[in-house]
């Protein structure tokens, strides 16, 4: 395991902190944006179908 994860000595918390914050925050924003997009597009599509059904 120690071979897989590089040891950066006393600087490890700074390096892993910066890289980890980057990865986690970018994944979180992408995921939140994707879920928001899917929810809004689904709601708009359902509304469109409902209006079409009501009009016909």
């Amino acid at each position: 395991m120690s071979g897989l994860i590089p040891e950066f000595g006393k600087y490890a918390p700074f390096i892993w902190g910066a890289l980890g914050a980057g990865v986690v925050s970018m994944i979180a924003l992408a995921l939140a944006s994707w879920l928001s997009m899917a929810r809004q597009e689904r709601a708009a599509e359902e509304m469109r179908k409902a209006r079409r059904g009501r009009d016909s």
Binding site: P6, F8, G9, K10, Y11, F14, I15, G17, A18, L19, A21, G22, V23, S25, M26, L29, A30, S33, W34, S36, M37, R39, Q40, E41, A43, A44, M47, R48, R51
Partner: protein
Amino acid sequence: MVSMHRFANPARFLKLARLLTPWLSVTAFGLLAWGLWLAIYQVPADYQQGDTVRIMYVHVPSAWMAMFAYGFIAVASLVSFVWRHPLADVAARAAAPIGALFTALCLFSGSLWGKPMWNTWWQWQDARMTSVFVLMLIYLGYMALWSAIEDRERAARACAILAMVGAVNLPIIKFSVDWFRTLHQPASVMRMDGPTIDPSMLWPLLLMAVAFQLYFFAVLLMRMRAELASRKLEAATMADLTGARVPA
């Protein structure tokens, strides 16, 4: 101008966006994983900074993208303000949280890099740090303004003015290291006489920059699609309400 107006039609834009979103997302995260692997395992330690130089692979692309995203918002705001392009204010609003994330990431990773190298988490006298902090405040103000004004037309115009005025901060950030005495070193990649970084460290940095750029456009498209769907929903609800009030 002609090509810009081709995509003024939201339906045409959405067709292209639906096609591009998954490809951009997969490519961005693939390149990000590759860049991180290089940054952690392949890039040599710096002769002065040791392993902390690896923080550069998040810090520098974040800083570039924080400025790029703001430039994008300023241009989109100008297009929205002058030509009333129907997608410009959607694009500007969608880009703000992404730019704010990159700015926060730049400040956070910079602080983590500053402590072991400069023995300080933060230094107000440093013009680069302070001007990027101001950029963060502008992003927060811009997003708050969008939420504060209920009428969308008025909100778009007020935010466009704020974004265009705030663009003054971009050259200050860029040239702060030349104009003022700062802890930051002068530019070492975007220089007239070429980069001063060793190629073994430079190309993984450029790879990360491309990954961050693609990530920006992938998330931008997602947020624009969400905003357009939300506006469509809102318009349909309003039409229903208006229809209910008007006697047949």
